[in-house]
Amino acid sequence: MKKVILHCDLNCFYASVEMLYHPELRDVPMAIAGDPENRHGIILAKNVLAKRKGVKTAEAIFEARNKCPDLLIRTPDYDSYMYYSAKVRSLYYEYTDRVESFGPDECWLDITSSIRYFGSIKVIVEEILRRVREEIGLTLSIGVSSNKIWAKLGSDIASEDSYFVISRLEDIEGLPAGDLLNVGYHTYEKLKSYGLYTIGDIARSSPKYMKGILGKNGETLWYFANGYDLSEVKRYDDEDEVIKSIGNSTTTVRDVYDMDDLKLVLTVLSDSVASRIKDEGMFFKTVHLSLRDKNLNWRGVQTSLKENSDLARDIFDNAIILFMKNGFDFRVPYRSIGVSVSNLSYRKESSNIDLYGHADYSLKEKKKDLALEDIRRRFGYHSIGSLRVLEDEELSAFDPKSEHLTYPVSYFGR
């Protein structure tokens, strides 16, 4: 039987929550932006009036102000956003137990087995729209389809407080390839250079051709474009069972211009990730590095270790290697840096025969990590650290472990 999957996307989520408590904000162009002092001064969300003036998410406050001088800026209130995110999710659970969140404002719902109980897809979708509007005071866009990828496209097409059904490729083939999940700026540029402008273009090529262009990711995109995505919508109790990845990222107080800066930020991030992974008692095998440059182009790379580890040193070293090996450079300085680890397990693999004294090194590193952590726990985070971080205390003055926010793992991360 064909599955029925909804993708529910809360419209301008952060801005809507603000407007819910301050109805007067509905009548003025308004945006939520990080603290400008801290240089997190980019637009996180905006209301419809601001959108009409051309204000875009992720642009700097001054850019937005250029387009819309009377733009009202508010600082984010994450507690409220998380509260409403959970509240909306608990409403979804009344319709199915298969609810998978993708960020605070998006969820997939597999309602295949609930249709008979409620009557029809239309009843469920319209009821969810109505209840979220009336009971919670927010609006949704819902995409309805047989797979997660098309459902997500559907919610992008659907206007505010409405839904859009995608049942055939013809419904979406004209959309730009960039709308497809996992097609970022770089991938889209590359696709265009091969003459693949629309989702239809990708769908009509072949998996082999796509693989030739983009490797494994390309093949996946072909499946995505055709809606051949069989991945399940996770059940809600699956959620906390397994941690799939642990990571930290930071928007630096100033742009990162050279290797010294990068090493400094990576030191802090690696320490924090290693400390969190030790808190969980886990080991990782894969290290990811993601960088967003000044133009907000994002790129992420990953590598796997020979043996799993829980050491800060291994995260740091591999992040640097990733940077060097993957053709990153500092032509455009970086604004945001992230490190994460995945491929987690609870057991340290019994190492191969230790010919080169690696075990000794690991033990020493681990002792160092633990001692570092113990001192931090007792005397505060900034009481001890690598000499490197003292070179620029401003740049390194963040404590990612206690400030961290959990972001959705990537689609492939699961």
């Binding site: 408590y21 009971e135 005071g137």
Partner: protein, 82 residues
């Protein structure tokens, strides 16, 4: 209209329900709530906010909505009411 936060005296029963008994207006008037007619989750479109909406019957057949939102109570207040 605007949102006015108010003090409320409640009964927390053994089943975990919260029943508002008195509304304290401006720290001086204690107004009894005769009956809670309906409880439902609702957003207040007039004054903003959302939570559990208690439709309450006060004396002389006056019905008012009391909203319970994350531990706080509020009413919708007309601007011309002092």
């Amino acid at each position: 209209m605007k949102r006015k936060y108010v003090d409320v005296i409640c009964l927390n029963d053994q089943a975990g329900n919260i029943k508002p008994l008195y509304l304290i207006w401006d720290n001086e008037r204690k107004i009894p709530i005769l009956k809670v007619k309906e409880i439902c989750p609702r957003a207040s479109l007039k004054v903003g906010g959302s939570g559990l909406r208690y439709t309450c019957l006060f004396d002389s057949n006056r019905i008012r909505h009391l909203y319970y939102d994350r531990g706080k109570w509020y009413v919708e207040l007309n601007d011309n009411v002092l």
